[in-house]
């Protein structure tokens, strides 16, 4: 189990030492990612738990269970696809070092059972993602990264305060001590991590950072960094002190799912559209916080990586992020993969998006919630009709072999997952897709980009703090 954390970090350190030699560090990155993936089956079927150091309960606990498995799998697949896509782009050893250390850090978060260890690893993952967002050193990226840094480190300070209260009450940082802590500690932990979650109003740094990041970094941000809070929420909600959070998440999740879709439908920038969909899909995941949301996190990581890579490569080749200018200029191969990704996120039957999203919609507690989720699902199909109705041109340029390899791995996972998990009632989801496409054809003349008021740094900070205060009041009311 330690190998899953240790080997990628070791590979990253070797890349950092050899950072002038681009080819060597690329080979080390690919080998390390593959070795990390081949260790994975031994860890998953082992079901062990260990305490590092001979300190008993004071040591840092590592354990694995069924909640962590989807996240570990998605980390491996996303990292492999990203490294394959980055071949021949001229990245140096420093980039691969950051990617590999991030890989080890993410594995460590998904295995850890210690609250302070989670704080350190989440901060390390955040610092690496700040550097990766501004990797090309453009001022636009530096601003997006600075906004992300200010919000995220403010939130994590609240988390640190929360675990301080947990220590004061129980005398231990182990996660098992969360069984009996006061409500104020739980609300500080929830609010502190919510800033990284990608929920609407809580983390409005997200569209800016995800849409301005380099091609290889956006999939990591959207597929993995956002999943940290989803994973930790699913983990924490199993403890009895967090019982009040289930209703809160249902409410925040559905609001986020619908508002994210409204912004995405009106967007004209393809990468911004995908970033708003991250907000919406995180809302879907948190509506019912259990094992089904963990698997939706897995499928979301895979298809969002595919979409971000295809859209990033197209917009780099054509020099524009506006999808209306792409029509007739993209090749057939790119269109095919764009179609697979769009159908998967819209929930078309036989894709992984359908399987996991339908389980969430059918598991919803009351009929009104189910209808709202179906509306959000139709809105997703509506905004991705923009990609479905693009016309592939007869351009003769062949895409690079490594890019196609990365796309094929991801699409293979999407289709295999969709066929394995398919059940007959999932044909119902076809209606939501058809309704969304029809709505797009009716309304496409009226779609205009919405104002970015909420994404300005002052309004992002104040909406986060206001929502935080509201959730403190709500928690005290709900738990008493």
């Amino acid at each position: 189990m330690i190998a899953l954390v240790f080997l990628p970090v070791l590979g990253g350190v070797i890349c950092l030492v050899l950072k002038k030699r681009k080819n060597v560090s690329l080979i080390i990155a690919i080998v390390t990612a593959l070795v990390g993936g081949s260790v994975l089956p031994f860890v998953i079927f082992d079901n062990a738990s260990i305490d590092i150091g001979n300190w008993g309960s004071l040591g840092i606990g590592l354990a694995i269970d069924e909640l962590a498995i989807p996240f570990l799998l998605s980390t491996f697949i996303v990292m492999l696809a990203v490294i394959l896509n980055s071949i021949k782009k001229g990245y140096d050893g420093f980039f691969y070092a950051l990617i590999l250390i991030l890989y080890g850090t993410l594995n460590s978060i998904f295995l850890s059972r210690d609250l302070f260890s989670i704080f350190v690893t989440v901060e390390l993952a955040s610092i690496i993602s700040f550097i990766l967002v501004s990797y090309e050193k453009k001022p636009r990226q530096a601003w997006a990264s600075l906004k992300y840094l200010l919000l995220s480190s403010l939130g994590l300070n609240f988390y640190l305060l929360g675990i301080g209260i947990v220590y004061m009450e129980t005398g231990s940082f182990a996660m098992d001590s969360l069984e009996q802590v006061s409500t104020i500690a739980t609300v500080l932990i929830f609010g502190g991590l919510a800033v990284k979650s990608g929920l609407f109003f809580f983390s409005m740094w997200l569209p800016d950072a995800h849409s301005n990041a380099p091609i290889e970094v956006s999939p990591i941000l959207s597929g993995l960094i956002v999943k940290l809070d989803v994973y930790l929420s699913i983990r924490f909600i199993t403890y009895s002190s967090f019982g009040w959070m289930r209703d809160t998440y249902m409410f925040i999740g559905i609001v986020s799912a619908i508002v994210g879709v409204v912004f995405a439908v009106n967007s004209k920038n393809a990468k911004r559209l995908l970033a708003y969909h991250t907000i919406s899909q995180v809302g879907f995941m948190l509506v019912n916080c259990d094992k089904s949301s963990a698997w939706h996190g897995f499928s979301h990581a895979i298809f969002k990586t595919l979409l971000f890579l295809v859209v990033g490569n197209i917009s780099e080749r054509l020099g524009t992020k506006e999808y209306t200018k792409w029509s007739g200029k993209i090749t057939r191969v790119e269109y095919a993969f764009l179609l697979i990704g769009s159908l998967a996120i819209a929930g078309f039957p036989m894709t992984s998006g359908c399987v996991t999203k339908e389980i969430i919609i059918h598991g919803a507690c009351c009929p009104s919630l189910k209808i709202l989720l179906l509306i959000a699902s139709a809105g997703t199909a509506m905004s991705f009709s923009k990609f479905i109705f693009l016309k592939p041109g007869k351009s003769s340029s062949r895409p690079a072999a490594n890019t196609v390899a990365a796309y094929s791995i991801l699409s293979g996972v999407i289709i295999v997952h969709g066929i394995i998990g398919f059940e007959i009632y999932m044909f119902e989801s076809l209606f939501a897709v058809i309704a969304g496409v029809a709505a797009y054809l009716l309304l496409r003349k009226f779609l205009r980009p919405l104002p970015v008021y909420f994404e300005r740094i002052d309004s992002a900070l104040s909406s986060y703090l206001v929502l935080f205060l509201i959730s403190i009041v709500l928690a005290i009311i709900l738990s008493s």
Binding site: L58, F116, F119, V120, E123, I127, F130, I131, S134, K137, P139, R140, A142, W143, S145, L146, L149, L150, S153, L154, N157, F158, L160, L161, G164, I165, Y167, M168, G171, F173, N269, V452, R456, I457, D458, L461, S462, L465
Partner: protein, 119 residues
Amino acid sequence: MTGILVIYFSIIGMLVGAVGMILSKNIIKKILSLGIVETSVNLMYTGISARGGIIPPIISGDFSNANYADPIPQAVIITGIVISFALLCLSLVFAIIIYNKYHTMNVETIEMIFEREEK
């Protein structure tokens, strides 16, 4: 008693820092307010390590009447101090990149420039 007082002071410091982050328009002042929040959290960990009446985790013996400083929060917060130092350095680097291009530290001006560029 002193421990409880320190904890209240640190929570007030966090609120002051958070309000300062919202109200100031200068990037450097926003970063300094973040520094105030981080220092307040570090102060709070000093407060919770003041203990009495339970057994310290390292040494065995009768400590039921003694007041002592719990070593674990202190060991833990050193890591927190290092992390907040790294974050402040990184944010100042981003501020320098932005200043070199646009020659301003005012948040509203910078956002206006970026929104105009996108159109």
